[in-house]
Amino acid sequence: MAAGVAAWLPFARAAAIGWMPVANCPMPLAPADKNKRQDELIVLNVSGRRFQTWRTTLERYPDTLLGSTEKEFFFNEDTKEYFFDRDPEVFRCVLNFYRTGKLHYPRYECISAYDDELAFYGILPEIIGDCCYEEYKDRKRENAERLMDDNDSENNQESMPSLSFRQTMWRAFENPHTSTLALVFYYVTGFFIAVSVITNVVETVPCGTVPGSKELPCGERYSVAFFCLDTACVMIFTVEYLLRLFAAPSRYRFIRSVMSIIDVVAIMPYYIGLVMTNNEDVSGAFVTLRVFRVFRIFKFSRHSQGLRILGYTLKSCASELGFLLFSLTMAIIIFATVMFYAEKGSSASKFTSIPASFWYTIVTMTTLGYGDMVPKTIAGKIFGSICSLSGVLVIALPVPVIVSNFSRIYHQNQRADKRRAQKKARLARIRVAKTGSSNAYLHSKRNGLLNEALELMGTPEEEHMGKTTSLIESQHHHLLHCLEKTTGLSYLVDDPLLSVRTSTIKNHEFIDEQMFEQNCMESSMQNYPSTRSPSLSSHPGLMTTCCSRRSKKTTHLPNSNLPATRLRSMQELSTIHIQGSEQPSLTTSRSSLNLKADDGLRPNCKTSQITTAIISIPTPPALTPEGEGRPPPASPGSNTNIPAIASNVVKVSAL
């Protein structure tokens, strides 16, 4: 029973009284309505815009968010309303769905935003009403294509970890831009295709006379030279074809593809000619075969995207082309017949038969009008003019369809290319912005540390050194700091202002900062566009070393006679280090949280290596009591922090 018909249930139950007198046995007891709630108004506050509706309206669809008890999670006790921090425009459509039972898709809305909202409210997009479903599906398809294009381009930029030689070769053939060798190969084959085509053309040009014989075409005069050229081209094409065949992931599919058929057809005549040179009978057929050499020009379609689009358009417009052909044929037959019978009477008429009139009809309908056949009778002229007028119409009708198809596909391709180019620029801009914000964080952190250090030094007048940050910024920075502490990792400070002293302590964990930065840069350049989880999973070995390293870190005990600020940070450090050592398995997820939370902080550095760099700041002697006051480390063999403190270095940590 549909949920909404419940509104009519009282009516149905009341009408059941009609059965009572005819019943032979007593009726069952009616179910008691225990908590009979009067229908009440519910206030839904969506980002400040208040919607009101009856409770029963929402309960019509009990498997959605609003219809079930899930909405209680959003109930605001103080204002006695349900608050949703979502888009009020889309909510209008959602609420109308409850009211009318039809879900509409507003055309001005972005498709992915709309999908997100529907997913949030637990509504399946399939129930969009017929009036809007087509539009929704079209936009969804467009979006999916766009995403696929993006994914494809992303995948292409990814450096796959291990491709076999065969796969590299295939990729080189398909995308010449992947490596210089592929590009060279691409241009060489293009050049040879051009050479071959030009050779075929020039072969037939008359080349001047040899005294004593008639004018010869160049092909026969310099036959040896042309033969060598032809051989060279065919060898290149053969080698290319064999290489492609070898590299193809699915040889069977490759053999069946159009391009490979063109390749075969282009080189076959030469081989057949080699085999059959001495046989006079079939030399005529052999000459015909040479015609197929012109198919080499189709090999250019690998080099030109426009050609490919044209071919694809023609393929997709096959039905329109078929209709064009069919209607033309009909018209030709009709007019040819009419003209034949009209001109039958006139003497010396060229319209000797209906098939002979076909030529006239075609020439007239396409408005060519060669004039080799013209009607002489009046009737013939009348019908001839009708023929030429209608020809224009019949040809003009399907052509716009084909043209629009071509235009659509062409623009789609252009869009894909444009998007790819724009994406690069866009990502670069985003990267710059993010490093800017991360630098801001690091600046403030450094300033914060400096402040702390200077506080300890007891120079209050320098406390306000550094930029003043807004509350939001400071909260954000605090958050980043917490994250650092949580993971035991830290963001790399690359400011040359802070001098980096490599460890004076013999500790295998510390590496030179510049070296590390280099490594970081390389890995980040490679991994940046890809999704992060693969990069995580691809370095499991490193992760375990990270974990093991982190577990070695000491746990600082909070009871020491440190100033309050220092104590707090130490506590943070200690708690986080405890976390780090106890739960190494969670570091993967935490690091991934790390990655997701802070895009701009060169996240991929974290996954590859975890080390600590020492950034030395002139520290006050006040720190040394801290070092002394600390009891010996809990886990043996880990002298990371105490030596660090002992050498008057503030461990900022890093990765």
Binding site: M1, A2, G4, V5, A7, W8, L9, P10, F11, A12, R13, A14, A15, A16, I17, G18, W19, M20, P21, V22, A23, N24, C25, P26, M27, L29, A30, D33, Q38, D39, W54, R60, R99, T100, G101
Partner: protein, 195 residues
């Protein structure tokens, strides 16, 4: 049908005429005006026609064929026989069914059974009604529906109701017989507090 717009009587008037409170009338009108999720061909023009009744019943009794019973029901509600049930008719009917006295309810039931509204229930009329009720059950019943079950049922009914054995049941016979039957009297009270 949909172009004819019908506005119901004032709320106070309806409240006076029926035994519903204002709030109940409001709830009922909301459902009446917008019989979601049924097709909105008829409403919200303010009247309900027979197709809506049929559709509603088919939603409630999906296994069987409730069109015939819905047809009879429509005729019972449509007291002025103009082919459409307005909100007043609807409320009048519901008021009797849910808040009326037993006498009124029995009257209404008699009106339902009396298809041609001539004051007598004949065996043929009763058979039609019975078949309609059995049709609502559908085919998949246990025990399997026998062909002559409705007829048997009609016979039982007439034996009970038809006092003077003249082959028809009048309103007085009907009410008298029902009042004597305990089960029927009890079941009349069943749907007291549906709203």
């Amino acid at each position: 049908m949909a172009t004819v717009r019908h506005r119901p009587e004032a709320l106070e008037l309806l409240e006076a005429q029926s035994k519903f409170t204002k709030k109940e009338l409001q709830i009922l009108y909301r459902g009446f005006k917008n019989p979601w999720p049924l097709s909105l061909r008829e409403c919200p023009s303010g009247v309900v026609n027979e197709d809506t009744f049929k559709e509603i019943y088919s939603q409630f009794f999906p296994q069987g064929d409730s069109t015939t019973y819905a047809h009879f029901l429509f005729n019972a509600f449509d007291t002025d026989h103009n082919g459409a049930v307005s909100f007043e008719d609807f409320i009048k009917g519901l008021s009797i069914l849910l808040r009326g006295t037993v006498q009124e309810k029995l009257n209404w039931a008699f009106n339902l059974y009396d298809i041609n509204k001539d004051g007598y229930i004949t065996k043929e009329e009763m058979l039609d009604i019975m078949k309609a009720i059995y049709d609502m059950m559908g085919k998949c019943t246990y025990p399997v529906l026998k062909e002559d079950a409705p007829r048997q049922h009609v016979e039982t009914f007439f034996q009970k109701m038809d006092k003077n054995k003249d082959g028809v049941v009048t309103i007085d016979e009907f009410i008298e017989s029902c009042q004597k039957d305990e089960n029927i009297m009890r079941s009349m009270q069943l749907f007291e507090n549906v709203i």
